[in-house]
């Protein structure tokens, strides 16, 4: 130990980076097909929900990509 407390934010990103990236990728692919299905059914609620999921995926990508 060098006595310097690690930056919890950056250590969190380093430790779980691959897992978060995997989640972001799975969310992006799933949300894209979800968007297609919702659009085919003309379902605005699910279109909005899947778009929010995709936005979350992009947010995670922006954070840990």
């Amino acid at each position: 130990m060098n006595g310097v407390p690690p930056n919890s934010n950056s250590s969190w990103r380093k430790k779980y980076r691959l897992q978060v990236q995997l989640v972001a990728l799975i969310l992006a692919v799933t949300a894209s097909f979800g968007l297609y299905t919702a659009a085919q059914n003309g379902d605005s609620f699910w279109s909005g929900a899947w778009l929010a999921t995709l936005a979350l995926s992009m947010l995670l990508t922006g954070l840990v990509g």
Partner: protein
């Protein structure tokens, strides 16, 4: 949407964001892509009349295009790490110096000829993904390796991948290949020379260029003429493959010349690994030999192709219209050949190579963990970058933003200057979308109509479009991400983006000058 400076800048804003974040702030491709995706969605919603339905379908189109590329990235990384685990990469690193001690020639063999051959066979990022790590294994820096393998195959993209980009050009414009083939083959055949010279410069500096210039010139002439001959003979599907194959044969022959000859006396048929065990080169190279045989076999054996083509995945898209009247006609999305895709060919090659290496005892205990861990680490980050970038590009295309960009560029240049702009427009389309094919989809009709309005040679302007797209695709962030992910630069693509824009634009400028020259001479008028 009316064309003015404000609307043009709005349409350009997602690309500006990518450029600023990657080139200015040195962000990675996935982070920059994610931010640019948000910008593209917001601009599309608030300024270009997009609605939820359009964004939903557009994102589905984008994921199909992305999966088409990701299929190759994951399997190319798998093949590479299997070959690496078997010691093949290290063996190439010792074999090539044995073939020729000249480092620039080594770089040319792998970064120019081998990468061009791989583009002919597979394309879609395979040349960079395969040859960049091999160049690193030879001792080139990761940045040099990505630059050399990207620039080296730029001339081969249009007639590579069984000429899919050229076929798209023919389909979009409804013009015959006999009309568009010759000017495209000439522009790209001549471009092989600057591509080779730039690879020589990156690999060996001015000294390397001076030493290898005769070889580069001879190889360029041989490959350019071979490609032209194949295109004129209407076999443009094998234009780049045949040219690069002849180039490889001549390249290996050139290493026998006194100037580049083997001097260190190492055996070329077997090598000794770090544990003192003798390894057979034919067995070690089996991964790449299998790749070549399978790629040729699947593409050229018609009954096999027809059988594999049965297993396809695609989605149907209805007509999409923005509130401002931009219409995307109903269409089928990108067809993904589940079993005949270049990614599938890479996967079969990986499995067969792994079987051979396992039987030959080239895998040590724990090999699969050492293979799969870097595949996962390298592929996930690149995949996120590609999903975001392609999403941004398709949103721009389907909301009329890309068209507005192109209109702004073309309207501001008259008949005198448009020939200089045409290849750069093709390059811009490929830079944004990551593909020569998509650039042709976006801009070919626009280029054709502009050429008609300005009374310029339509075949030559379209050839400039696809040549620019071919040479511009190697600068696309999506392709750079692929290369960086295979050489350990996964978070640091920006160090490659700056030099690749500089070097990559040189051959495009050459095509622009050639277009003006051919127009002046009245060729293909």
């Amino acid at each position: 949407m009316p064309l003015n400076l404000l609307t043009w800048l709005l349409a350009f804003s997602p690309v500006i964001i990518v450029l600023v974040l990657m080139l200015g702030l040195r962000w990675g491709g996935s982070k920059a892509g994610a931010i640019a995706w948000f910008v593209a969605v917001l601009v599309a919603f608030f300024f270009f009349g997009a609605n939820l339905r359009l964004i939903a379908y557009t994102q589905a189109k984008a994921i199909l295009l992305s999966l088409d590329v990701l299929y190759i990235i994951w399997t190319a990384l798998l093949l590479y790490h299997i070959a690496d685990e078997s010691g093949t990469v290290r063996m190439i690193g010792t074999m090539l110096p044995a073939l020729t001690p000249d480092r620039t020639m080594q770089g040319l063999l792998l970064g120019w000829l081998f990468a061009s051959f791989l583009q002919g066979m597979g394309g879609f990022g395979v040349p960079v993904a395969v040859s960049a790590p091999l160049l690193v294994g030879l001792g080139f820096s990761p940045v040099q390796a990505v630059l050399m393998s990207c620039i080296g195959h730029g001339w081969a993209v249009n007639f590579g991948s069984l000429a899919t980009s050229f076929q798209t050009l023919l389909a979009v414009t409804n013009l015959p290949g006999t009309l568009l083939g010759p000017p495209s083959a000439v522009l790209l055949g001549i471009s092989a020379l600057p591509c080779g010279l730039i690879v020589a410069f990156i690999g060996g500096g001015w000294q390397g260029v001076r030493r290898t210039f005769p070889a580069v010139l001879l190889l360029s002439v041989v490959m350019g003429l071979t490609q032209y001959g194949l295109v004129v003979a209407r076999v443009w599907t094998l234009g780049a493959t045949g040219a690069a194959l002849v180039g490889l044969v001549v390249g290996f022959a050139l290493t026998r010349l006194p100037a580049y000859r083997q001097t260190n006396g190492q055996s070329l048929t077997s090598q000794v690994d770090e544990n003192g065990r003798r390894r057979s080169l034919p067995v070690a190279f089996s991964a790449y030999a299998i790749l070549v045989v399978l790629a040729f076999g699947i593409n050229l054996i018609e009954p096999l192709r027809a059988f594999l083509d049965r297993f396809q995945f695609t989605l149907q898209f209805p007509e999409l219209r923005t509130a401002l009247g931009w219409v995307n006609p109903a269409e089928a999305g990108r067809k993904i050949d589940l079993l005949g895709h270049p990614g599938a060919v890479l996967f079969y090659s990986s499995l067969l190579a792994a079987l051979i290496y396992q039987r030959a005892g080239y895998f040590r205990p724990g090999a699969w963990k050492r293979i799969l861990t870097p595949v996962l680490r390298g592929a996930v980050n690149s995949s996120l970058g590609i999903v975001a970038m392609v999403g941004m590009a398709v949103i721009m295309s389907n909301t009329g933003m890309t068209n507005l960009l192109a209109e702004g560029l073309s309207r501001n240049f008259g008949a005198e200057f448009y020939p200089l702009v045409a290849p750069f427009l093709g390059a811009l389309g490929a830079f944004i979308t990551g593909s020569n094919n998509n650039s042709n989809v976006l801009f070919a009709l626009l280029q054709m109509r502009t050429a008609e309005l300005l009374k310029l040679s339509v075949p030559l302007i379209l050839a400039a479009q696809t040549a620019g797209g071919s040479l511009g695709s190697i600068m696309a962030p999506a392709k750079v991400i692929v290369g960086c992910s295979t050489v350990g630069l996964g978070d640091n693509e920006s160090v490659v983006m700056r030099p690749i824009l500089f070097y990559g634009l040189l051959p495009v400028a050459g095509v622009a000058l050639l277009t003006v020259l051919f127009l002046w001479l009245g060729v293909w008028s």
